[in-house]
């Protein structure tokens, strides 16, 4: 890749990631959400991976990190759903809003999202979905690049 791209892409990728985070954070009031924001963050990673390559990319996503974040995302979603099931009897009940008025006020305050909308658990669900999508899409590209390097190494060894 050209030198201009190598200078430009790393800061640009960070700005793209910030836009992705903003998309996740605004998921309950603007178009977007966890999947779209997570895809944008992954796009920042992929941008770096394509321009710098797997070894020289400034963003290093190890297997352990990918596994941990994927698990945190999935577990977070399930736990928020189970919390609704335990306290209200409905899976994924929005404990922070409590439309049916069936849970104690202190629980409502715990699950409340502190912003002008008070959307309850929706922003938290967006957050965990964003984490999961971010590492999921990045892992696909990392795997493809890894296979390509592996194939190239094998061809060199055969020659």
């Amino acid at each position: 890749m050209s030198t201009i791209l190598k200078i430009f892409v790393f800061p640009a990728a960070m700005v793209i990631m910030c836009l992705g985070v903003l998309t996740i954070l605004g998921g309950h009031i603007t178009p977007g959400g966890g999947f779209q924001g997570g895809s944008m963050i992954a796009a920042g990673f992929i941008f770096c991976l394509i321009v710098y390559g797997l070894k020289e990319s400034p963003f290093h996503l190890s297997h352990d990190f990918l596994a941990a974040i994927e698990s945190i995302g999935a577990l977070g979603f399930v736990l928020l759903g189970v919390a609704g099931l335990i306290f209200s009897g409905f899976y994924l009940y929005n404990l922070g809003v409590d439309l049916y008025g069936i849970i104690p006020t202190f629980l409502k305050n715990i699950f409340d999202y502190p912003d002008p909308i008070h959307a309850g658990i929706i922003p938290y669900l967006n957050f965990v979905v964003g984490l999961k999508v971010m590492v999921g899409l990045s892992a696909v590209v990392i795997t493809f690049l890894g296979f390509r390097e592996f194939e190239e190494n094998q061809e060199e060894a055969q020659e």
């Binding site: 985070v21 605004g26 020289e56 502190p114």
Partner: protein, 91 residues
């Protein structure tokens, strides 16, 4: 001035996680020093100002979650974003 902690905390957290992943390869010819992060922060502030606050937010004239994420990336890089060790490069 009203402060909404929700987007600030979640934005910082996500940014921090991303920042901890910035690990440069010492064997690489590419070097990203402090100037890259200063430029990034300035650009992030300008972009956040032109994005404006999210709908219904009246906390600041800029996108607070965006700025929190940018600050989180830099904090993550400073605290955990160390260079790769030879064993990590082999992996």
């Amino acid at each position: 001035m009203i402060i909404y902690p929700g987007p600030l905390i979640l934005g910082f957290l996500l940014g921090f996680v991303l920042g901890t992943r910035i690990k440069e390869n010492p064997q690489s010819k590419l070097k990203f020093d402090a100037s890259v992060y200063v430029v990034f922060l300035i650009v992030a502030l300008i972009v956040a100002y032109f994005l404006g606050p999210l709908p219904y937010y009246v906390d600041a004239p800029l996108a607070s979650g965006f700025v929190a994420c940018a600050v989180g990336i830099i904090f993550g890089k400073l605290l955990f974003g160390r260079n790769l060790t030879p064993s990590q490069i082999k992996e």
